[in-house]
């Protein structure tokens, strides 16, 4: 029961966040256990990236608190949040490599900026991280010369360069071929176990995520609609979760973006007014 007594690494309490008039998160409370792989799932546009940016303190919530390592990331000083971020690695959807640096220099970048290590040590560290993602041979390439999957793996090497305590993956599987996907899945698992990381994987690729996640949260329409271990989630067979996990197009989570009634829209096109309530469209 050691897991349950340990304080969660990240705690989100009553988080509310809006963009314009749209409420992205409406009173969400969840916690992310230490040393595990936690998956946060939800359809596109449900605010998964936004959630990661909130956790990293890049965005500020309308209300509610987010604690990382016991510190409220939105009330600590700017200096402190930068210190906290050194303990976080983030793998962006696009990789977000610095396009004017080589693969090697991209991975070396956080080390050069944050440490005073001699260049020989930095070299050794960079090669080690690149070896871990299987791309030591690509060290001299520029980001533009990499495939999407390779760019993500380089970004991963960069993300673990400073030996963070936690790492966030934003949609690591999107747009990858099946082989690359398998490589990434394995890599996430391997890194989590060998480096003792806490991993948060944000994704809507249900099968891949469920194959590695210890703990799963499902978000939809601004609410946390399910949370639990992988088995608990898989057993849940109703409503949103069923729809999501089994990939049904329409269900409690609407396929359609909220809109006026279709009939009215069509009626406007043909210049009619809608007055027959039983009319067919």
């Amino acid at each position: 029961m050691g897991v349950n007594t340990e304080k969660p690494l990240i705690e989100i309490k009553n988080l509310t966040f809006s963009r314009g008039n749209r409420k992205i998160f409406d009173d969400i409370t969840l916690s992310i256990p230490k040393g595990k792989i936690t998956a946060i799932m939800g359809p596109s546009g449900s605010g998964k990236t936004t959630l990661l940016k909130l956790i990293a303190g890049q965005l500020t919530p309308d209300s509610g608190e987010i604690y990382v390592l016991g510190e409220n990331v939105h009330t600590v000083s700017r200096k402190r949040i930068y210190q906290l971020r050194r303990k976080m690695g983030m793998l962006f959807q696009s990789g977000a490599l610095l396009t004017d640096l080589t693969v090697f220099d991209n991975v070396a970048f956080p080390l050069r900026e944050h440490t005073k290590l001699p260049e020989s040590v930095i070299s050794a560290l960079v090669l080690m991280k690149l070896q871990a993602v299987g791309l030591r041979g690509a060290k001299a390439l520029m980001p533009a010369e990499l495939s999407g999957g390779m760019a993500r793996r380089v970004a991963l090497a960069r993300g673990i360069a400073l030996d963070p305590e936690m790492i966030f993956y934003d949609e690591p599987f999107v747009g990858q071929d099946p082989i690359t996907m398998g490589v990434l899945v394995e890599l996430i698992q391997k890194l989590n176990d060998s480096l003792g990381l806490t991993s948060v994987v944000v994704s809507h690729d249900v099968d891949e995520v469920l194959s590695i996640a210890d703990y799963v949260c499902v978000i939809s329409e601004g609410k946390l609609i399910a949370e639990g271990t992988k088995d608990q989630i898989l057993q849940e067979s109703t409503g949103y979760v069923n729809q999501f996990v089994n990939g049904l197009a329409d269900g409690p989570v609407p396929f359609h973006f909220p809109s006026d009634s279709y009939k009215e829209d069509l009626a406007k096109l043909s210049g009619m007014t809608v007055n027959d309530s039983k009319g067919s469209v």
């Binding site: 940016k53 990293a56 890049q58 930068y82 210190q83 971020r85 050194r86 976080m88 690695g89 983030m90 962006f92 959807q93 696009s94 977000a96 490599l97 610095l98 396009t99 970048f109 956080p110 900026e113 944050h114 970004a155 960069r158 400073l162």
Partner: protein
């Protein structure tokens, strides 16, 4: 009745919304500029970053600035000669060329070219860095983009443009010399001595430099803010790039009028 009420309501709503957006935009802009300014001293210590930006903004703008300076100087002296020769005072063509360049055309034309060449590139670069999440990634790596990205570029513009302006002016005078002395046969001694005695170091040259520093400040702020504020899509970045050129060019011309009124009246 109800319809009119609705219309008024929605009008009020949209007016209110856009006023709020305007104020919010202004606030964001001000905060951003203050942030860049406060990061500028520490950017001075990052010689590596500054040198790279000086190369991109300054050195790479050299060809266009030098060519343009030469042509503007040649045209000025050609036109000036045609007018002055009627009054038998064609030796004054050097003075006329130099004064026009030092006081007005040097700072203004160099700034306009610079806004098109380097300002637009800055906006596009920063907008794209944002849309590819490179700036977010820097923040996540605990590196302050204000210090790493914005401040070095700000400083590079502030340093490059005045220097480019001086070179533009120098090349313009050279162009004037080539045309009037080399081609139109104006007396070389008179050309230079008149210029020497009529161009004042403080009133003309210094004021010209002050102008170019002011223009540099304006272009840097507009280009960086447009990049920072660009909607991170292709249309967003291209729109922001266009706005940089349009706003900076009009801004330079308007500011030039104001400064000229203050300096040379």
């Amino acid at each position: 009745m109800a319809n009119a009420r609705q219309k008024i309501q929605s009008l009020c709503q949209s007016t209110g919304q856009s006023s709020i957006e305007l104020v919010a935009n202004f606030g964001r802009g001000t905060l951003f500029i203050l942030g860049v300014l406060s990061a500028t001293p520490s950017a001075l210590l990052r010689v590596d970053l500054l040198l790279k930006q000086l190369y991109v903004a300054g050195v790479q703008s050299l060809p266009i600035i030098l060519m343009a300076g030469l042509f503007v100087g040649m045209v000025l002296s050609l036109q000036g000669y045609n007018v002055l020769v009627d009054y038998n005072s064609e030796e004054a063509v050097g003075t006329m060329t130099a004064l026009s360049l030092v006081r007005e055309l040097g700072p203004v034309v160099a700034a306009l070219l610079f806004a098109g060449r380097a300002g637009s590139a800055l906006t596009a670069e920063i907008g794209l860095m944002r849309s590819t999440e490179q700036i977010s990634a820097l923040e996540m790596m605990a590196i302050d983009p204000l210090k790493y990205i914005y401040a070095p570029r700000f400083l590079a513009v502030l340093i490059s443009l005045p220097m480019l302006t001086l070179l533009f002016t120098a090349l313009g005078i050279l162009g004037g010399y080539l045309i009037s002395v080399g081609w139109l046969g104006v007396d070389e001694g008179a050309f230079w001595s008149q210029m020497h005695s009529h161009v004042d170091w403080h009133d003309d040259v210094m004021n010209g430099i002050i102008k170019s520093v002011a223009f540099a400040l304006l272009i840097a702020v507009i280009a960086l803010y447009q990049g920072f504020n660009a909607i991170p899509t292709s249309e967003g970045v291209s729109g922001a790039t266009t706005r940089t050129v349009v706003h900076a060019s009009l801004g330079v011309l308007a500011l030039d009028f104001m400064l000229t009124t203050l300096m040379f009246n």
